[in-house]
Assembly symmetry: C2
Homo-oligomer: 527 residues x 2
Amino acid sequence: MRREQVFWGWGEPGAGPSLGEHAEDYLRGEIGIDGGVVSPPVELDAVRLSEPVLDAALRARLEAIVGAEAVRSDREARVLRCRGKSYLDLLAQRAGACEDAPDAVVAPGGHDEALAVLQACSEAGVAVVPFGGGTSVVGGVEPLRGAYESVISLDLARMDRVLAVDERSLTAVLEPGLRLPEADHALAAHGLTLGHVPQSYEWATVGGCVATRSAGQLSTGHGRIDANLVAARCATPLGELATLDAPASAAGPALRQLLAGSEGVLGVITEVALRVHRLPAMRRFEGWLVPGFEPGCDVLRALVQSGTAPDVARFSDEAETNFTLAFAGAGRAAGAFVGRRCLLVCGWEGTPESVARRRREAARTLRRVSARYATQRVGREWVASRFAGPHLRDGLIDRGVMVETLETATSWSNLPALHDAVHEALRGTLAGCHVSHLYPTGASLYFTVFARADAADPAGQWRALKDAATDAIVAAGGTITHHHAVGRDHARWLADEDGDLGVELLRAVKERCDPAGVMNPGKLLPD
Amino acid sequence: MRREQVFWGWGEPGAGPSLGEHAEDYLRGEIGIDGGVVSPPVELDAVRLSEPVLDAALRARLEAIVGAEAVRSDREARVLRCRGKSYLDLLAQRAGACEDAPDAVVAPGGHDEALAVLQACSEAGVAVVPFGGGTSVVGGVEPLRGAYESVISLDLARMDRVLAVDERSLTAVLEPGLRLPEADHALAAHGLTLGHVPQSYEWATVGGCVATRSAGQLSTGHGRIDANLVAARCATPLGELATLDAPASAAGPALRQLLAGSEGVLGVITEVALRVHRLPAMRRFEGWLVPGFEPGCDVLRALVQSGTAPDVARFSDEAETNFTLAFAGAGRAAGAFVGRRCLLVCGWEGTPESVARRRREAARTLRRVSARYATQRVGREWVASRFAGPHLRDGLIDRGVMVETLETATSWSNLPALHDAVHEALRGTLAGCHVSHLYPTGASLYFTVFARADAADPAGQWRALKDAATDAIVAAGGTITHHHAVGRDHARWLADEDGDLGVELLRAVKERCDPAGVMNPGKLLPD
């Protein structure tokens, strides 16, 4: 049985990094928390669950397909698959509000079993919510029932095989339930790596990344998951959907780009062929302090447009730089330009020649805007804490802190206006932002928001901020999501992104392969 | 009025390169043609046309939308928009068989007019065939009527404006009817270029390239058109479809990748936002002779997988090398390894540093397989003749030669098997192949085929070869088209690429935005 997350947070207490004294001090001063644990999660036994409702004949049919032990209705299985890991999810899970947990957790062993499960559920009228790593922060795994009485969580944990590795073509065919570290472990034996490292790396699955168009910390260098997707196979209620494994094609619209980002509403991805990358000969990470956000953006733009970008580039605005340094205990002493210092972390991977060449170019361009080298230590610290955020969040929520992130992307020309518009919408909170992914035509912006949680209505407090920020993003021309996906939380704004007819076309596709509407109701497409 | 192609071929006689003495001699020896013009095209006046059928009320409505002068039913307009430029198209055009020419040629002046034209045709039940450059080689602009009595050619010639250039974000918003040289001319004033150079460059339009997922000679370096597509706007019978201009997004399936390759069956692309490229500081082209096809493919694979590929790489197999050298008059004297020599043309663009670095890497890798440097002259000759093929074809057809090309792509691992399978299917012809586009995971194969035309049934002769080659491609796991698109000619095989359910999903999309089925009937989707 593979390791599972705790139902109320990111990891077992003590298993990951915990909130340091500096961070707690800083937040006490900035947002006025009291200190100490004010809001602990309930125990598993205290979680409120409803009796599972699943037709006996369907249960028997599902057990015949996947085996009796792969159809679970026990408390632990249902509670863990009740939600993802957004702030709103964690608030509800910590409070033990799992009345709407899935009625059963069904784990197919492969494509054929997944296909049979979907057909059975479609015929029986039972909603199906695919569940990979369960790390959605947009309500993507919420067990909504749509028009139906029952809902199952389709757990992909058993579909975790490496089906093929082609060292010559640099591709691997993987099952969707494979977690990213497991995929990398298997690939390392071939001298290869996925090159896909989202902050959810520890728990996220290959299939979940494809279904949500994930981007990772290395995506500036190695491309988003959709850019690395060579082919996909999908089980739908009406049968198999599979795209050809070809490096490129002009054979009509790219179906694999319809499956990427489909978020389980068409079916479930059962196999993916991904481009993989050779393990780099060397890695180097370092920090810089740049006197201002716009000059730093200009540097990053110049590097990515000249093809010399670092593989990882995380560039914090002044607000984020301040709290990042404060959390690390570096405070105001950490650098020059107090009040106008923006922290840039750059990472390069590859041959020594490629790393050295691009580093030189970055240094030259950064010095031109009077940036100051902040040593490899800053880079190494970033690497060491690259997965820390969601662990720290558990401790922050314990202490009564509202903490969440949101993200968008736009063209280089529009980036300053979008940055300002979102900050304006988040006014009254402690909010900071970093540029997280570079493209020749633009970049993404990733905001982290802290506030003292409103004890009376913490969910409503965040919802109001999220609505304001998303409305501001849409008004300022940004995408509603650069890498978190749509799920339940962004569905209301999908027509702002795709237009009414665009949404209608996606709905037409869904209706054709899921006529009963059992696949992940309430996600991606607005009601 | 912009310059137009001749109705029966690629260009006015004498306007482009013509067939040389060496080529004629070689073909006389190899395929037994007689020499001299045996099959000239008919004069325009001798072309057979039917009386145009277009409801008077609809004509009046169309004239009210686009202006009377933009609704044409004259002989020249109809004949030129009767077909594209495949061998089969040219056979029919040269014979003057234009009985099925469009009933009218309607040229909207912008998005709103295009939208109104499509709505009018959808209501009246008249088929609409979008026409950009008219260079389709897969029957993409054939004026098929579908279920209807009348068909119009929707000519995009008037929609040829540059709507916006963003030098900061390296994007340009262009109208679809803009020809590629016109786009490059306008962009050059900003120090920019499309970086998109298909062999049809002289005539092809921006919108046509997007609608057919075009790849150009520089696509190894600058990416296919679909990789450079930032956003698209489309007029459909049911209204506008527009995608957000963002560098990347996780907001569900990528609608722009549904419009790319849509081949006019959903609507007509009315605006595209493309990533553009800075004009390179330098260009260098050179030739190499490699002792064998597989070692050369290994070199190209190593270069593209290490990120040091040339921007242009054209690598001919032994058969193509032989006729390329013979056509150039170089014959068997041109290089070493007689009988096992494969011509490679490499082109680099960019900063002197980038060109020098990648050239060094290519030379080092090529010398490792005992390749011989064949001078910059070979490279310059390739550049000088890079658009010659379709001009030479006119002269070849004059002389009774069957001449056509076909193309596919697959993974590096599968490339040798696919190469052999297609050659086997073309046995009995003079056929050669080159690798034309490199990807980290694979490459494309482009075949050119010559034979003495079967005077009794030249079309049937090619159809039999094309069927055999496409069946072989499908059986060997290649894509049915890497950059020529599907059109009418590949539609039969689309389900081999996308699966039955995949085709059904595309059909569902079409039915949602084109319920009357007026948009480009008989193309892309099999009947």
